[in-house]
Amino acid sequence: MRDELATLGNGAHALAIQILGNRDDAADAVHDAFAQVLAQPQAWDHRRGPLRPWFLRVVRNRCIDLLRRRRPAGPAVEVLVAPGDAPDAVLETQQRDRGLQRALRDLPPEQRQIVVLRDYSDLSYAEIAAVLDLPAGTVMSRLHRARLALRQRLESEDDD
């Protein structure tokens, strides 16, 4: 279970960033979720579905708890990593990813989460419905709207 959980860290972190809007808080949320799951591994019942959507749901619930507790603060500050001596190809990838992150940030949180779960974490519609607690029938329409909105933002990003 530990090995499988370790491979879910980045996907969970990406989801938590979309909810909390801050990398460090998101990493803390994933860390808390790991601690929670490792303390009670029996909470996951493999007969009720795979580990990944269940763990992502634990992470999402933890993020929602943190959001409720979070005191009102100013807008989240994006900490950009200094490129340093990164080679051109890496720099280009980083710039593309930053463009994508800016485009995602402009979407409503519900759209950010659904598009990350499908296109980044590669979850099926049934798994997405389980993570987001949605009726299975609404995933396709919400995802489609999110993709259209993201496409529009990315076009604006690429034009800038």
């Binding site: 994933v30 601690a35 990350v116 519609y125 396709m140 709207r145 259209l148």
Partner: protein, 151 residues
């Protein structure tokens, strides 16, 4: 061509285009979308664009952290758990041993009541001081706004 909320064009097949892209349609729905795509250049273009969005998302590194970090993270969680268990055992055993020692001390017939009172006052004084300092430290730790500042 129809227009969806928010002004986004959703020509003809609408959200089933995403379902088609993700392989989430029934065979019948897939065949209908395929037939439509053969005749509709606009939907083919939209499918390509949505496919490009999906590919860009899939190729990105939204987390920006190495996967090893999470493995180390879990090891830390194990250490935290073990430490918590250790403290629990230590405190539990300490309270038990303390209770037995107090019982033997009070039940000792060789020691007069005056001495017992004097020794009790000495230890209770130490205990009161310890609890008072511990309480103050805990309050400071909880309310110190600069505790995370590294100098």
């Amino acid at each position: 061509m129809t227009t969806e909320r928010g002004g986004n064009p959703t020509p003809h097949v609408g959200d089933r285009l995403s379902g088609y892209l993700d392989g989430e349609l029934t065979q019948q729905q897939r065949q209908r979308v395929q037939l439509h795509l053969e005749d509709c250049a606009e939907c083919r273009r939209l499918l390509d664009e949505l496919s490009a969005v999906r590919a860009r998302m899939g190729a990105s590194d939204l987390s920006g952290l190495p996967e090893d970090r999470w493995r180390e993270n879990m090891d830390e969680s194990g250490v935290t758990l073990a430490r918590g268990l250790g403290w629990l055992l230590l405190i539990g055993a300490g309270v038990f041993i303390g209770a037995i020692a107090i019982f033997h001390f009070l039940a000792d017939p060789g020691l007069g009541a005056g001495w017992k009172l004097l020794i009790s006052a000495f230890y209770l004084g130490w205990l009161a001081l310890f609890v008072s300092v511990l309480r103050q430290r805990l309050i400071e730790r909880r309310t110190d706004r600069y505790k995370d500042v590294e100098i």
